[in-house]
Amino acid sequence: SAVISQKPSRDICQRGTSLTIQCQVDSQVTMMFWYRQQPGQSLTLIATANQGSEATYESGFVIDKFPISRPNLTFSTLTVSNMSPEDSSIYLCSVRDANQPQHFGDGTRLSIL
């Protein structure tokens, strides 16, 4: 399966600032996703990162708050903008190729003060 590297692995940020999370895959993949997870809870899909076009956001998530880039088939970024304490969470990058199971990075643990 693809090896997924996420950076940073954790960060502590000030209220009102923005943080960009990077996701690098060691092979080309068709689909890339971004999830949010509260500790000990399940995963919530934020958006599907589409290569060469705008991301597709799930209900409750908007591009202004969570801009996403996907310049090629191995890389994507998620920015958490104008952060508030409610944005404290684990953010996970995930990838899937056609007819293959979905795999996850180790996540970025984000705390906002």
Partner: protein, 112 residues
């Protein structure tokens, strides 16, 4: 509303005991995955089931996919402390537009 209902939410057992986690839905799934997640890590895929009635074994773990492809179970025999983690079922259905839908997760704690 969760498309996949997972139960129980929490399980605490002694080493050597057996446990079963259930994943149920009213939707039909083309495939269903089970993941285990440990603190500080992302979910790790344990198994994928695709055929109704399918049973897969992974050492002491047995996974079953319901005949109608609407439910699944994970059974662990003689649990060990290393089995501790958050177990997540997830699947793709006709209602999910190709996106993976997750259950709420079951936190399993196995004490020595």
């Amino acid at each position: 509303t969760q498309l996949l209902e997972q139960s129980p939410q929490f399980l605490s057992i002694q080493e050597g005991e057996n446990l079963t986690v259930y994943c149920n839905s009213s939707s039909v799934f083309s495939s269903l995955q089970w993941y285990r997640q440990e603190p500080g890590e992302g979910p790790v895929l344990l198994v994928t089931v695709v055929t109704g009635g399918e049973v897969k074994k992974l050492k002491r773990l047995t996974f079953q996919f319901g005949d109608a492809r609407k439910d699944s179970s994970l059974h662990i025999t003689a649990a060990q402390p290393g089995d501790t983690g958050l177990y997540l079922c997830a699947g793709v259905s006709a209602d999910s537009w190709g996106k993976l839908q997750f259950g709420a997760g079951t936190q399993v704690v196995v004490t020595p």
